[in-house]
């Protein structure tokens, strides 16, 4: 068994663990919204946006500004998805895998915390 096959087997093992975990917990999704709620983006890690919600008032900002706002909010949603993925997989993967995820473009940043049911921060 050469190095590539060994790597493929390791990826398959981790994938199976992650699939079982996601089957229990549901998909990992990141969300972000512009400050005035004009644009909201929901996305999975490493994937295109799953949903883009635009408020009726956002159409007044003009086509160019709306496009730029979608790009900005989508970047924050992607960062949120990556952070949630790190948090979700922390118990399944070793630190090396976590580091590898960061290296390939999924940084373990902060989670967007303005989507709770209440504005009060929960216990830590």
């Amino acid at each position: 068994m050469d190095e590539t096959q060994r790597a493929a087997r390791r990826v398959a093992d981790v994938e199976a663990q992650v699939s079982q975990h996601i089957a229990r917990t549901g998909p990992v999704l990141g969300r972000a919204s512009s400050s005035d709620g004009a644009v909201t983006v929901v996305t999975a890690p490493g994937a295109p946006p799953r949903e883009i919600r635009i408020s009726p008032g956002a159409l007044n900002m003009g086509a160019d500004a709306l496009g730029a706002e979608i790009v900005r909010v989508a970047a924050r949603a992607s960062a949120d998805a990556a952070a949630r993925m790190h948090q979700s997989l922390a118990r399944l993967t070793d630190p090396a895998t976590s580091k590898a995820l960061t290296e390939i473009g999924f940084p373990a940043g902060g989670i967007e915390d303005d989507f709770g049911d209440t504005y009060l921060r929960g216990p830590r």
Binding site: D2, E3, T4, A7, A8, V11, A12, T43, A44, P45, G46, A47, P48, P49, R50, E51, I52, R53, I54, S55, P56, A58, L59, G62, A63, D64, L66, G67, A68, I70, V71, A74, A75, S78, E103, I104, G105
Partner: protein, 198 residues
């Protein structure tokens, strides 16, 4: 450079290619164009002013749909670049754990779905996924071989449609399956006394 060093270098290049390569797709209405990376990051969203008249939900839907196609285009370009610089065998090894390319997935899905039925024809305003035009037609030309007849002719009005009429003619040919390994002992059993002949 040893084989292992070459593979480590290939893995590093994969990360670089995925981060660098972008794809662009345009909605069939021409109202939305999206540029995205292979890992799903939106780089640019251009919305025509006329799109805003269709309402917020329609604009959001068009951007979402076009973004998916732009990412598919970027992933396909990444595979193409890898195959070009590393060779088919290394690209296939990477496909083993990264999954098939978007074109291969789409071709497989269409093969499983079978030929389209007349009732499933897309409506003009519905903007189906498969109906979107590819982002960079000039970069993925349909391969044509001189003397090679077209694989599927347009249906004639008076003729019955052949079963293979639903196959895509514009899709690139999928990579042929590797030949099966010849691990049997046919040669030995064909002439078991060959070692004892003088």
């Amino acid at each position: 450079m040893s084989v292992q060093e070459e593979r480590i270098s290939a893995a590093d290049r994969l990360t670089d290619v995925l981060a660098r390569v972008v794809g662009t797709a345009t909605h069939p209405s021409g109202l939305v164009t999206v540029t995205a990376s292979a890992v799903g990051a939106l780089k640019a969203v251009r919305i025509q002013p006329a799109a805003l008249g269709q309402g917020p939900d329609a604009v959001g839907g068009m951007v979402t749909e076009t973004a998916g196609l732009a990412v598919d285009a970027a992933v396909q370009t990444s595979y193409n670049e890898l195959a070009k610089s590393l060779g088919d065998s290394m690209a296939m090894a990477i496909e083993d754990f990264a999954g098939p390319s978007p074109f291969a997935r789409r071709a497989e899905a269409e093969q499983h779905a079978g030929p389209p039925t007349p009732g499933s024809a897309p409506q003009p305003g519905s903007a189906p996924r498969g109906g979107l035009r590819p982002p960079e037609p000039s970069s993925r030309p349909t391969p044509t071989i001189p003397g090679d007849p077209p694989r599927a002719a347009p249906p004639q009005p008076g003729r019955p449609t052949p079963p293979w009429a639903g196959q895509r003619t514009g899709a690139p040919r999928s990579r042929p399956a590797p030949p099966p390994e010849d691990d049997d002992d046919d040669d030995f059993f064909a002439d078991p006394f060959r070692g004892q002949r003088r």
